[in-house]
């Protein structure tokens, strides 16, 4: 069981999407959502993790679509809802030598949070903002799914079964030529069904640099941004029936190149998350990569 649980870290890290409707693709921004304005974002996800330090030779594949809807309550306050739909598949070799596959598909846990711009300094063609956000991850996903082998282990379930608070602060500096975002966040995971995921602390940073048009003309030209994002994600060990799982938790550092095509109403974007450093506990399964691609639209 402990071994099966170990890759839960990966599942959590890979899918923790801060689905906010502006520039960074793997976390948040402090840029505004106008009052009475909606922003919808759809992000497709493909994640692979096959670097298994244990004998089970686990291979995890996650396919998903993460939908986010944001609404501007005022120019400074916005609320967001996030709902993932996931297909998780795990292949592993059992102690008897059989190669088996366990999988599940459906709606995963939802997130709801509010973001408030606490500080804003605007100047011609540039802005600096600091925003805080606070919310909950709600147990929308199935947490007692079964297959022919019985109940799926907690990390493979679509939902955690628990209600988990999250919050953080994000800073944005944007000019015509580039944008920098940085975020610190924390999520407290609570116990459900005798299982508790470790709490998650994150530090994220993003640089978006305008590649086209090289010279900014008049009117409202579309922008093409080159993107480089970094995520340092630290998760505590999971607990099973109150006991820490030594094969869970650890720190992962993702470096992620990407691209964005930005128009007045639409953004089309893609990014590849590459784990350049993984310091995981015990036999936790390590990431290979994650690809995210999608669009955002305002209305």
């Amino acid at each position: 069981m402990r071994r099966e649980v170990a890759w839960g870290l990966l599942v959590l890290l890979g899918l923790r999407v801060e689905g906010l409707p502006a520039a960074p693709q793997t976390f948040n921004t402090a840029l505004p959502v106008a009052e009475d304005e909606f922003v919808f974002r759809e992000q497709l996800l493909y994640l692979r993790a096959t670097d298994d330090p244990g004998p089970a030779d686990r291979e995890l594949t996650v396919l998903g679509a993460v939908s986010v809807l944001g609404f501007g309550v005022t120019g400074r306050l916005a609320v967001f809802g996030l709902l993932p739909y996931l297909d998780k598949e795990l292949e592993l070799t059992t102690p008897t030598g059989d190669r088996i596959t366990r999988d599940t598909t459906g709606v995963a846990d939802a997130q709801f949070f509010a973001r408030y711009t606490a500080y804003q300094k605007d100047a011609p063609g540039r802005t600096f903002r600091i925003a805080t956000f606070l919310g909950l991850e709600l147990p929308a996903g199935d947490d007692d799914d079964t297959d022919s082998l019985g109940t799926l282990p907690a990390p493979l379930q679509l939902g955690s079964g628990s209600t988990d608070p999250l919050g953080g602060v994000v800073v944005t500096w944007q000019t015509h030529d580039y944008q920098v975002d940085a975020q610190a966040s924390y999520q407290i995971n609570n116990e459900a069904n005798g299982f508790e995921f470790g709490n998650v602390a994150r530090l994220d940073a993003s640089l978006q640099y305008r590649l086209w048009p090289r010279e900014l003309g008049s009117g409202m030209p579309a922008f093409v941004y080159g993107v480089l994002e970094g995520n340092v994600i630290r998760q505590s060990e999971n607990e099973i029936a109150g006991t820490e799982d030594a094969d869970s938790g650890g720190t992962t550092f993702f470096l992620s190149p990407g691209v964005q095509y930005v128009t007045r109403r639409w953004i089309v974007e893609a990014i590849v998350q590459v784990p350049v450093g993984q310091d995981l506990n015990g036999m936790a399964l390590e990431d290979d990569f994650a690809v995210r691609a999608g669009f955002r639209v305002k209305f």
């Binding site: 011609p124 009117g219 930005v262 109403r265």
Partner: protein, 108 residues
Amino acid sequence: MTTIERAAAALPAFAAAVLIALAWPAAADEPAVYELQADGLACPFCAYGIEKQLGGIEGVEAVATDVKSGTVTITMEPGATLDEADAERAVDRAGFTMRDFRRRERTE
């Protein structure tokens, strides 16, 4: 002064009055155009909120943004005017800061 001389003296004023009367309807129908600076605006995706907020003000016919200069041009329906306080409120609701609101002269 004879009658003819009096008529000749009044002719320029009469002509001016006729010209004004002819020109007045066209001037009244010409829509008012305003310009404002939206500080903090630096990318196309953010401009949509400003244009939507300003476009929601009664009497606004069209809104166009120049992202490089941060200038937002608001064209009103014929006979309508734009209050500066309404424009500032709209830009604030979009999450930005208004500066330098002015009505564009017809010769511009």
